[in-house]
């Protein structure tokens, strides 16, 4: 493992806020081909919508932040714990931390934990992503 990576354990990620827009819900539903009416009219949220918040809410590249080679990076695992309901119009603030780093089978594994908090201060979602860097 690159010497720097282990030192990133505990590092805080960029904090960002994203407003849950109906248009983005519809766009994600169309891209997946999950054409339920309540998604298309932006009244219900798809289970994987948090990924939209991650990419559109944050400006920084996680690979850059961790010093990973983008050509070698894969998404290994994703876990969501839904603690509360996310609604259209919500303002979601995301904070994250590098929870774990380890090497296995000549690959680096980085686990990022993120908490999604709504405008009322309620934690509605916990996300854990495993990022894999091939050597």
């Amino acid at each position: 493992m690159s010497t720097g990576l282990k030192e990133k354990i505990g590092m805080k990620l960029e904090t960002y806020t994203f407003k849950v827009e109906k248009g983005k819900i519809k766009e994600l539903a169309l891209a997946i081909g999950d054409l339920r009416e309540e998604y298309l009219n932006g009244e219900a949220i798809l289970p994987t919508f948090p990924t939209v918040i991650d990419f559109w809410g944050g400006g920084a590249s996680t690979s850059d932040l961790l010093g990973l080679n983008v050509k070698k990076v894969l998404h290994g695992e994703q876990e969501y714990e839904y603690l509360g309901e996310m609604k259209p119009g919500d303002e979601i603030t995301v904070t994250g931390v590098v929870e774990k780093v380890y090497t296995k089978a000549a690959m680096n594994f980085v686990i990022l934990k993120k908490e999604f908090v709504n405008q009322n201060g309620e934690t509605i979602l916990i996300s854990r992503s495993t990022v894999i860097e091939r050597h």
């Binding site: 766009e27 891209a31 997946i32 999950d34 050509k71 894969l74 998404h75 290994g76 695992e77 994703q78």
Partner: protein, 127 residues
Amino acid sequence: MEIGYQFEPLHKEEITHSQLVRYAGASGDFNPIHTVVPFAESAGLGGVIAHGMLIMGFVGQAIGQWFSTKDLVKFSTRFRAMTRPGEKITVQGHVVDETAERWICQAEAVNDVGEVKVKAFFEIKKR
């Protein structure tokens, strides 16, 4: 509903390059390994690969057919194999366990020769 219960599989249409471009825009994941063939080739992937989150989205669609997603309390996936344009994904699943409050379920996204792309576990609040 009971342990072992098999859900009706969800059959998705063939994944296209256009779908990956569309998913990149929708999700905001513009990593060119998903959309730009020469870049993906130079990364040693032999061509573009689908976003893992797109395949997780297919599983999410299946869960929405099997239950109300409002009852979904936990959803985890492991991305096991790369998926490429031209592949057709089916999502299948069953109930593996239960607690007093929850159904514990498993799902897989597989291609038409049965290669497992995504293995998922999810938990549903009992009504």
